[in-house]
Symmetry: C2
Subunit: 202 residues, 2 copies
DNA sequence: CCGGGAATTGACCGCCCAGTCAGTCTCCTG
DNA sequence: CAGGAGACTGACTGGGCGGTCAATTCCCGG
C-alpha cells in the first residue's frame, strides 16, 4: 500500500511535469524564449502560474529541462539506429533518417532547437547544453573516424567535418520542418547525396 | 555656404549615427538582442540614452538598422567578387572567400548574424530581413543554375541546394570566427572542397 | 462526516528597462 | 554680444513579467 500510494503520487507528479514541459515546448516554439511568458505556459498546461514553480525553479530551468528532455530522447533514438547499422554509409543514412523522423514527430522541439541553440552556444556560456551538443557531435565523429579508418571515406579533419555535416543536416531539417509546402519528397535522400557525393560533376 | 553648412550638419549626423550603430553591433554581439540595453549601447557610443532615440525610433529599429547595414555591405562585396569570376568553380570560391574576408573583419556583425538570424527568420515574421536574406541566397542560386546549365555541376534542385550550401558556409564561418584557436589554416579551402567533392571516396 | 496535510491557486510585489521630455548646453547669426 | 534654434542630456515613468506566498481547495484516512 505504501508503495502503491507513493507510486500514485509519483504518477501524478510526473503527469503534471510532462504536461507543463509539453506546454513549455509549445509556447517557446511559438514565441521564442524571451517573448514566452510563464503565464502563457501555465494557461496552456491548464494550471496556474504558481504550479509551474512547484515543478521548476525558474523560467530558465523550465526551458533547459524541456530542451534536455528532447535532446536526450533524440540522442537515444539516433544512437539505437546507429548501433543497428554496419557500414559507414548506412550509419550516415541512419543518422540522417533518425533525426528526420524524430523531428518530424516533434516539430515544436525542432523550432526551439533550431532558433535558440546558436544563442545558447555562443552568448550564454551554458556548459550543460554544450555537453548534450557534444554527445551528438561525437556520434557523428565516430562514424567519420570509422569510415576513414576502414577506407570508405576520404581523409579529413574529423571534428570540423563532423560539425559541417551536422549543420548541413540541421539546415535540411529546417527546410523540411519549418516550411511545410511543396518540398522534394525525400529531403533526407537529397541531403545524404549531397554529403556523400558533393555537387561536382562525376 | 548653405551647401557647406548643410553638409557639415549631415556629416555630424552621419558620424553620430555610425558611432551608435557600431556600439549597437558591439553590445548586441556581446549580450544578444534581449540582454542588451539601450543604456549600454549609449554609454559605449559615448552619448546619452536620449540621443540614441534622436537617431533611431526604437531598440528594434536600431537592431534592424545595424543588421541591414552589415548585410548590404556584405552583399556588395560578395557581388563584386562574383562579377569578377568567370567559371562556376571560381564563383563558388569567390563567394566563400568574400564571406570569410568580410566576416573576419566584422566579427561582431557575424555574431549577431549567426545567433539572431534563426529567430528573426522563424519566430518574428520580418519581411524586410527575409528580403535581404533572399538576395544572398539568389546570388548562390544563380551560380548553381549557371553551373548546371554549363555542365560544370550535376543537376540538383537549385533552391534547396543553394540553402544547403549557404548554411554550410555559415557553419564553417561559425567555426572559424567564433572559436579563435588552432583551426586548420585554410578553412575556406576545406569548406570549398567539401562542397565541391563531397566526402565519399574517389 | 470530520480533520488535517498536501496540492493548487492567483493576486500581489518589485525589478528592470524601453521610451519620454523638460531642462541644459552649444554654437551660429545678425 | 545677445538671443534663439536645435542638439544633447539623464532623471523619470509606465508597463510587463518573473517569482512569491497567504488563502483556498482537494483528498484521504479514520
Amino acid at each position: 500500500m505504501a508503495v502503491a500510494g507513493k507510486s500514485k503520487k509519483d504518477v501524478l507528479q510526473e503527469f503534471r511535469s510532462t504536461e507543463i514541459l509539453e506546454a513549455a515546448r509549445h509556447v517557446f516554439a511559438l514565441r521564442g524564449y524571451h517573448a514566452a511568458t510563464i503565464d502563457q505556459i501555465a494557461t496552456h498546461a491548464g494550471v496556474a502560474k504558481g504550479t509551474v514553480y512547484l515543478y521548476f525553479d525558474s523560467k530558465r530551468d523550465l526551458f533547459l529541462a524541456s530542451l534536455r528532455e528532447g535532446v536526450l530522447a533524440l540522442h537515444a533514438e539516433v544512437a539505437a539506429q546507429l548501433r543497428a547499422s554496419p557500414t559507414p554509409k548506412s550509419q550516415l543514412q541512419a543518422f540522417i533518417n533518425a533525426r528526420f523522423h524524430y523531428f518530424s514527430r516533434n516539430r515544436d522541439f525542432f523550432r526551439i532547437y533550431y532558433t535558440e541553440f546558436p544563442q545558447l552556444a555562443t552568448v550564454t556560456g551554458q556548459p550543460e547544453l554544450q555537453d548534450l551538443y557534444e554527445q551528438q557531435a561525437q556520434l557523428l565523429e565516430s562514424v567519420l573516424a570509422d569510415g576513414i579508418r576502414s577506407g570508405h571515406l576520404r581523409s579529413c579533419p574529423v571534428p570540423s567535418t563532423a560539425r559541417l555535416v551536422y549543420d548541413l543536416i540541421r539546415s535540411a531539417l529546417a527546410q523540411h520542418i519549418l516550411n511545410e509546402p511543396a518540398d522534394n519528397p525525400h529531403p533526407e535522400a537529397t541531403v545524404f547525396n549531397f554529403i556523400w557525393k558533393g555537387i561536382s560533376q562525376s
